[in-house]
Amino acid sequence: MIFLTRRATFSASHYYWNDAWTEEENEQVFGRCANRNGHGHNYTLEVTVAGEPDPVTGFVVDLKWLKDVMERDVLADFDHRHLNLELPEFAAGKLIPTTENIAIAAWKRLEGAVNGAGGARLSRVRVYETPEIFAEFRGGA
């Protein structure tokens, strides 16, 4: 089994807020991230797929194909957007766009295309919010 990883970057804004809580509770838990004017990051999306190299091409997956899938299913919607306002996963306070939830959302967007291609399986999605902070999801209901 070979694990192959492709990285891409996107820039987006967000804030953390739970509508069920008071302003004080939000500020206490989320700190500066609760500023409702939002703030932004340069995110790095890291997608790992697992499989056996094709005996003819030597590829686990075609990296150009994986790049296009990441672009179409994640980056086209996430890049230069306000995550709270513009993405169905997070809009209207449905879900807080923490790094954890962004990793899960990216997994769900990529899972069908990667696993449906018939070769490699999606193994891990890691999202870096800064070089020092990241979240990852390896699937699971």
């Binding site: 923490t98 020092e132 990852e136």
Partner: protein, 138 residues
């Protein structure tokens, strides 16, 4: 959104000195095994400690673990103990050389019961840009 396990990672820097030396070996053997790292005066590194915490995403906060609480655990358990110190002088390294493998295990043991939420999955310590060590608790 999902009840599956997710992981949150945090990287922090830590600067410390050490000397790799094993009392059970002769001076020559120590030099042969540890090379430059056996210099009696020690030397130092800018280490990067990376912790990976696994757990379910709290539906109220969207988080596996609160970054501020995790930072507090890292600060009190690891950074205040090791940052800008000589690792050889720490009691945890009295009976084992402060290799980065051992530092990795020591940091895992110091942190594993101090997680504010989730479970400690892995501690990775990067000694330089070109070498790193990981410990998963077993």
């Amino acid at each position: 959104m999902s009840s599956g396990k997710a992981y949150f990672g945090r990287r922090v820097g830590l600067s410390a000195s050490h000397r790799l030396h094993c009392d059970a070996l002769s001076l020559e053997e120590n030099r042969a095994v540890y090379g430059k790292c056996n210099n009696p005066h020690g030397h130092g590194h800018n280490y990067v400690v990376e912790v990976l915490v696994g757990g379910t995403v709290n539906p109220e906060t969207g988080m596996v673990v609160n970054l501020a609480a995790l930072d507090e655990a890292l600060r009190t358990k690891v950074l205040e103990r090791f940052d800008h110190t000589n690792l050889n002088l720490d009691p945890l390294f009295l009976n084992q050389a402060p290799t980065t493998e051992n530092l990795c295990r020591v940091v895992f043991e110091l942190l594993k019961d101090a997680m504010p939420a989730g479970e400690l999955e892995c501690v990775r310590v990067e000694e330089t840009e070109n070498n790193f060590f990981e410990y998963y608790g077993e």
